[in-house]
Symmetry: D3
Subunit: 221 residues, 6 copies
């Protein structure tokens, strides 16, 4: 069938959208739904604050409403506007934060989050609690790298390994979640080096969207 899943990157950086598209590539099948990755032009170059999150929601909701889609994914780890998007549509909508936690539960028993900044870590804890998953949450630990440093692949990977090891050895995490849509390129290296499954959140949400179309459980048209 010609079904279509729309994945919206709410920041305006095309390179991030391209990374998301690469991350979900293994889910594209000849007979399966299309997985279209879009960039929200109205978004800021990066979503770096709570104010950014709030600014992005109205144009994001408008965009989701305009796109003809059988299912949608909001590709920002803070899941901006997720509940509102669900209310506004009869079709399934996924947020990469929420979906990645469920994917982690499929791969392990206690998940740890690799965060960008210190400021996100308590927010992660709270979001996990809001979703009723606190019992399976090991910790969120920050990379504490600036934007420029994040451009440096080797430096970022080295720091990710450090953080991942702490999550595994000190917090007893047995599965890791990448806490940002922009870390798509690191999951394989990280998983191999640490011997743990690593959840790339965009892929996790896209996989849930594919499943929702293949095996719908709800009262839908």
């Amino acid at each position: 069938m010609s079904q279509r899943i729309v994945i919206v990157n709410p920041n305006s950086t095309e390179a991030v959208t391209a990374g998301i598209s690469a991350a979900v590539a293994p889910l594209r099948k000849a007979e399966g739904p299309a997985l279209d990755c879009l960039t929200l032009e109205e978004g800021p170059p990066g979503i770096e604050s709570l104010a950014h999150i709030h600014q992005v929601v109205p144009p994001l909701l408008a965009r989701l409403e305009r796109e003809a889609a059988d299912a949608s994914v909001i590709a920002c780890f803070s899941d901006p506007g997720l509940a509102a998007a669900r209310t506004a549509s009869a079709r399934p909508v996924f947020g990469i934060g929420e979906s990645s936690f469920r994917a982690a539960l499929r791969q392990g028993k206690r998940f740890g989050i690799v965060a960008i900044l210190e400021a996100s870590t308590i927010r992660h804890r709270r979001y996990v609690a809001e979703l009723g998953l606190a019992e399976s949450f090991a910790a969120s630990r920050p990379l504490n790298l600036g934007v420029l440093e994040l451009q440096d692949h080797d430096k970022t990977l080295a720091r990710m390994l450090e953080v991942g090891r702490a999550l595994r050895d000190e917090d007893q995490a047995d599965v890791l979640v990448l806490g940002c849509a922009g870390m798509t390129g690191f999951s394989a290296e990280l998983s191999e080096a640490l011997g743990l499954p690593v959840i790339e959140p965009c892929q996790a949400a896209a996989a849930e969207a594919v499943t929702a179309l293949e095996a719908p459980a709800g009262p839908q048209a």
Copy 2:
């Protein structure tokens, strides 16, 4: 690729296996993995007690080891031998109980379980707690129907609607889980009548197996 997912019904009743196969049919794709539903001949006609569960585990583990599979599903809601099967294999193994709870979290916020017997309900509560999902658990309510009565489709459906309504209205469940591999035929009717998503557990586990092959997150070959 010619990947294969094996779904083992640990009771020896072929009709149940056939129902499982029908339930996972929407997940079969030309280019996707085969979904082979097998019957454990050594199993009892039905798994009706804890003793049955224990008797079934050794032959079930042996069977899983013999079958060449890229992923496996144990198709009994009690997930007999699940942890042992995972330890014994480098490939992903799913249990329909565990998988159905995660599927429920994808469709709603508080799940209720339609159980067969009163005796299962505290067991369900405990299993959910063991998995760290107690915060999202509304309740498990029993049909309390005997084997003969369960043969009667109309009577069973009527009782399921009664139980489902209680889960929705008294326990505030917003998604239901069918607590048995042998209820596969009822999900659509139940969902439509109650206006809630209904998780058929065999399909839920098979969908996780498909996803695990399409988007592996772990340290695998």
Copy 3:
């Protein structure tokens, strides 16, 4: 001192702002801070959906930034933009939802929420969990009254008493929270009729703002 607390009603209905102002009147003291209640002109007449909440946040944040205030209150029970407003300002900011839960803990041990609509009740449960207060939460029960019916004081009070009684007798709540900024006029009648403390959330948040100015605990200028 000439300190000033700004209380912003994020809907554009002046009558609601007037009700809020009346609710916080007992906190106005000759020597205390001014309590200025403002209306967000950009807001919708009422905040009735998640989309409304999201639309309201950017202008609300902008307004809070423009107002010269020693402390601020966001007067909508969903606390729209609360975390972002706190990040943006070195001065204390309160949301009437969050503040009312703390006030409830001061008056009792298990609080129940009088909600407007069914749709809010699971949201309330989740917000309470996010704040780490699930153990003290009895339930949220909806009035399920339409906008017109809410204009009818006697009808609304009768329905509130019904809901409040259910929270007290079936859910074992020993303190009630009014789950909306527009119910300010009902707390005294409700409290007297039910024999329970009733938290009016605008007053609760304003009281916290007053306290924060009188007894600051943090690293502030």
Copy 4:
């Protein structure tokens, strides 16, 4: 109005009472309630054991009953006799332990307690759980200083900074609570040095008492 709040120090050391009076001074307003700090002569010089706590309750309850007050505060972090005092009076009664936890929730998301002795820390954990606040509790860590050492301001402050840093950096506390009525003088220095809000419990309870008089929510005369 000539309202009066009575704050009883249940140990017999006048210097502690004087410290409490200084701590609540910012809450005294010309038009506000009087804040009278009293010493329980029957109390021991310091409350250092569970036996002391129990001995102090009967004379404390008797004293509270004798004093004419619109609201009362029990100024010992173990909140001796709090529930009984509430039952005995129609007027609001506050305990500095309980009130300080609520004040901490107003200033942060996870609170840490600066305890005097190792023996108190598990007690603190339990009390927090009893109040339903375990989700927001980071840890309680002891100073482990003897009575003589506590007289030495510089030594005590140095040790407090050490403990506060551990609460902040190892336990992820974002707000601190001083776990004793006798630490009133340290909050400003501690807050400034650590960059965290610090709750002085006597002030926290007095502020709740003032609020209760200004904005009563309950069914009171």
Copy 5:
């Protein structure tokens, strides 16, 4: 050996002490420890309020200190002075509330408490939470009988059956706890009529004391 367990009834009613002695009779063995049930003369005829609890603690602690015992039991369901008594003695001390909850966990998975008065039920919930057992707590439901009515065995039993049935059928309790030292005579009838185990708390605590002497686990002389 001539070991001795002292069981102190902190109210002054000898009939209650006699009932306790009868309840622990099955634990008396020729070669086992003596089980001496004592009455606290300083106590009120019944412990009916929080003020009573507090008044009773100092003489109770003094009495425990005077009695030569290898282990002690405080025979009031509120466990007055339990923590202090433990601190004061190197020998094991048990409270019938705490011990009965552990006994309930030995007999079932979710315990319900048969309380005397409405006022106790939230206190029970809190005490269970303080002990970390909230997950296994079904509910506490009150008899709401006055002192005179409690003298009437048939009336009391009838009401207990009513409350016990509600705990079993509505709250899903699979084991009951008698929430008072004065209900010793009802456990057998109640258990038989409801088909559930019933914990008599004095016997539960005495059994723990006997076990502690037979199989000490701690660092003791």
Copy 6:
């Protein structure tokens, strides 16, 4: 009376059975029940994997059914077949894992488990959660010793002290549980060296069995 408690060691190593018998010796009384420790010949020499656990359950259940006993104990820390054995018998059955946790609650407030292998630690955490005791669980830490090393008493004790100290000092455990039926000989030394109570699980379960016969609470013949 000539009552009999059967304690089955589900591995086939007689030396382990002898150790268990020694551990429960203090509970044997002239007038009390016999405590017979049996070896399951069909078991493997040691239970070292989940597959072993499952293999052992059917012969273990058969053996329990054949033995005439007033109460039974399954002497493997994983409690294999416990729920099934309970369902199959009207007499009380105990598992040394479950019983040891309750014994720990009798001796302290937060228990830590001394595990053999890393792999067990998350399993312990989950089992504790399933039993509703997560709030009282400090941590499980592994010895990580091979079979040969475990033969070396001094080496094992040294490692146990190391692990026990970490549980006490880093995880705030105030009581330890030996996480294996084969550690019976170490509890006294460990307790003395660390100043903490140490629960030997076979003794804990046997003590519960003795108590169940002396003070039955349930609806039994």
